[in-house]
């Protein structure tokens, strides 16, 4: 192994593998494992929600903070970008908790699955499939329990696929990428206003005081056909002496 390879291995060992091993041997992990082994739904969901709140909450804080202080983002857009990050982050947490409790929830998913595919796995259908299978020469002596296990296996795989796909489409695409930005964008207008609530009016320095006419936008004045009529930019009855 090359020297670089050895150092990489060492770094991986010290920085990642050893801390992971220590984490795996911590006492509280025994408690977590016990709950997962006993399939305690409330604990598992609670931990899932806590992870979302921690990860997305921290992410939201970093994104908002960094956007606010990112001088490379144009100043007029900076607050909106940060406001959008904040609205997005908050809504994302709320949406994920909602999804976790509904579409991505195993109990809800199993109800949806039963409604859509349950008829292929009910008692009558199983009996039908069993008689077809038993009609095949090599399964003629297939014991009942083995057939049951086979059907259960297929049901389990199909359910896992169904759960994954519904979560992916409903939670990941529709929830997080359609509903959240749709609500977050107008909400960002309000968030931006809220973020600017304490902004003091800018003190005008006499050296940088705006002494340009602001009655008509400069861009309009500078349009080619109007370049020669600077003197006509004010209405005749404006009272100004031209």
């Amino acid at each position: 192994m090359s020297a670089i390879g050895r150092y990489t291995e060492k770094a991986l060992d010290v920085l990642i593998k050893k801390p992971l091993k220590s984490l795996s041997e911590l006492k509280p992990m025994d408690y977590v494992c016990k709950k997962y082994r006993a399939n305690k739904r409330n604990f598992i969901s609670g931990l899932g929600i806590a992870s979302i709140v921690i990860k997305d909450g921290l992410g939201c804080y970093f994104y908002v903070n960094q956007s606010m202080h990112n001088e490379k983002i144009p100043e007029d857009k900076r607050k909106f970008v940060a406001a959008l990050d904040l609205a997005n982050g908050g809504l994302m947490i709320a949406m994920q908790i909602l999804m976790f409790k509904t579409v991505s929830n195993k109990i809800v998913q199993s109800k949806m699955f039963e409604k859509m595919f349950g008829k292929h796995f009910d008692r009558a259908a199983r009996k039908g499939y069993q008689s077809i299978i038993k009609g095949r020469e090599r399964f003629r002596t297939l014991p009942e329990d083995q057939f049951k296990k086979g059907m259960d296996g297929i049901k389990e795989t199909t359910f896992d696929a169904f759960a994954n796909i519904t979560s992916l489409i409903a939670a990941t695409t529709v929830g997080k990428r359609v509903i959240v930005p749709f609500i977050a964008t107008p909400l960002a207008d309000k968030t931006k206003a809220w973020m600017s609530r304490n902004d003091k009016p800018v003190q005008i320095n006499k050296d940088t005081e705006n002494n340009y006419s602001t009655e008509k936008p400069a861009a309009e004045i500078c349009k080619p056909q109007k370049q020669n009529i600077i003197t006509n930019i004010y209405p005749k009855n404006s009272g100004l002496k031209i």
């Binding site: 490379k72 259908a125 014991p143 083995q146 359609v178 107008p186």
Partner: protein, 477 residues
């Protein structure tokens, strides 16, 4: 249970170990069909919607999930930011903000595929090698991927076909080793983080045996509940057949007569669905409608419509009607509701007794494990003595296989919990970097690709306009 049984059966069919050894270690599985073949056959039967679902499940790995998520972020979300009818912010600002999504999607693919996915692989490898704590130690029941990796490391030039064969042999050896160790040493031998082979700690092993027995007891309780439901259902059906015997007999005989005709399955199905409609419109007893539905249900949705399949279904439908006619006869002879209940209780009593006896037996085994007074080999001997002659799988347990299966389930669940906690820690640790990366790349990208939306054009345009704008003073003059 499935995977270990699968393994054992695949050994039986692939000949990974000598026949004498196979017979010694898998007495109750040697005569059975391979579960993989059975699943393949069932998959071929199931309707297309289920096939599609399973195909998607097979192809949706972690990377595909990450890419799908990124596509949704990069392509869908910006639409709802830029063209949002509810927002009052100017379009330039919204466009500028919307472009953050595809950039963050690309970065998410890079960081997730580069960190999260390898991180999960690393944890799996650590569990397979025995580096993690004992609760996550998979060294005695290694995953196929890990075994393949080891084989490739041993023989880098191995062909695909050779790899497949070697994997089967290694898996057979692995199953053999763990079953031997359980039966002869009353423990499971594991590799520890130093690579040494050590026995599983006594407390962990004892806990595993207890949880296995508890699993069996819980299955028995589930069976008892199913039997109770069955008993209730039978009593309701029996009572209906007693009180409406003529009505049921007439309908069933009609159906039986129709099903004896040399018609096609399609015709039978259409006949039964019409029959159900007619019964519904004539407001027939729901129990009778349910009975006809059960006959129709014997024809499940299938993709295969060959003669053999159709004949098997027709045979099942005829068999169901004959059975129901038998029940009609039996309960028609009963005089009172009490007699029906007694008849049902007698028909199901044997199964209830078997479950009760089995539960008591496993309760006593659990007690013995708790008192450290029994080994796995002794448990197997007691099961063989008690239920050896029974053909009922519920009673005649292959205990060592049950233990291996429980171990596998336990480690999978423990790893789920571990990955959840470790995942949060790692995600939080890399968050400052991913955020900083996005904040660095985003303005650079916008300056380069959309200068009209970013500072670049802003500065230029602003200064150009300023230069051309009339001053108040000029205007007044």
């Amino acid at each position: 249970m499935m995977k270990v049984v699968e393994k054992i059966n695949s050994q039986a069919s692939c000949g990974g170990i000598p026949v004498s050894k196979k017979q010694a270690y898998q007495p109750s599985f040697s005569a059975k069909a391979n579960p993989k073949d059975l699943q393949k056959e069932l998959h071929a039967l199931m309707p297309s919607s289920l096939k599609l679902m399973n195909k998607l499940a097979k192809n949706m790995g972690e990377i595909q999930n990450i890419v799908f998520n990124a596509l949704a972020t990069g392509l869908v979300a910006p639409i709802f930011i830029k063209w949002n009818p509810l927002s009052k912010t100017d379009e330039d600002t919204r466009t500028y903000s919307a472009w953050r999504q595809p950039i963050s999607a690309v970065l998410a693919v890079v960081t997730q595929a580069g960190i999260t996915a390898p991180f999960n692989t690393l944890i799996n490898n650590m569990a397979n090698s025995g580096y993690l704590g004992e609760k996550y130690n998979k060294s005695a029941i290694r995953d196929d991927n890990y075994i393949e990796k080891l084989i490739k490391k041993e023989s880098p030039n191995i062909t695909k076909e050779q790899l497949k064969k070697k994997l089967i042999t290694k898996k057979a050896e692995q199953t053999q080793d763990i079953l031997t160790s359980l039966r002869s040493k009353n423990t499971i031998m594991l590799k520890n983080y130093k690579g040494e082979t050590v026995p599983m700690s006594k407390s962990e092993y004892k806990n595993l045996l207890i949880e296995t027995v508890e699993g069996i007891i819980s299955d028995l309780e589930e069976t008892k509940k199913e039997l109770e439901t069955k008993s209730k259902r039978r009593k309701a059906r029996g009572e209906y057949l007693r009180t409406h015997n003529k009505e049921a007999k007439k309908v069933l005989e009609e159906i039986n007569e129709e099903l004896q005709k040399p018609n096609s399955l399609k015709e039978f199905k259409s006949y039964l669905s019409k029959k159900i409609k007619n019964l519904r419109s004539s407001k027939a007893n729901p129990e009778l409608i349910q009975m006809v539905k059960e006959v129709a249900g014997r024809a499940p949705a299938t993709r295969q419509h060959d003669k053999a399949t159709d004949n098997a279904i027709i045979k099942a439908m005829r068999g169901k009607v004959t059975k129901m006619l038998g029940h009609t006869e039996r309960y028609g002879n009963t005089k009172t509701a009490k007699e029906v209940i007694e008849a049902v209780n007698n028909s199901i009593k044997g199964q209830f007794d078997a479950v009760k006896e089995s539960k008591e037996f496993f309760d006593s085994i659990k007690k013995a494990i708790n008192e450290n007074s029994i080994t796995l080999a002794e448990i197997e001997k007691r099961i063989a003595d008690k239920f050896g002659a029974s053909k009922n799988e519920l009673l005649n347990k292959n205990f060592a296989v049950e233990v291996v299966e429980k171990l596998k389930k336990n480690i999978t669940n423990n790893l789920k919990g571990f990955k959840q906690i470790a995942g949060v820690i790692v995600s939080c640790a890399i968050l400052p970097f991913t955020c900083a990366l996005l904040n660095w790349v985003y303005p650079i990208f916008m300056d380069a690709v959309f200068p009209n939306l970013s500072n670049k054009k802003h500065d230029n345009e602003a200064s150009a306009l300023v230069a051309k704008a009339p001053k108040k003073v000029e205007v007044k003059q």
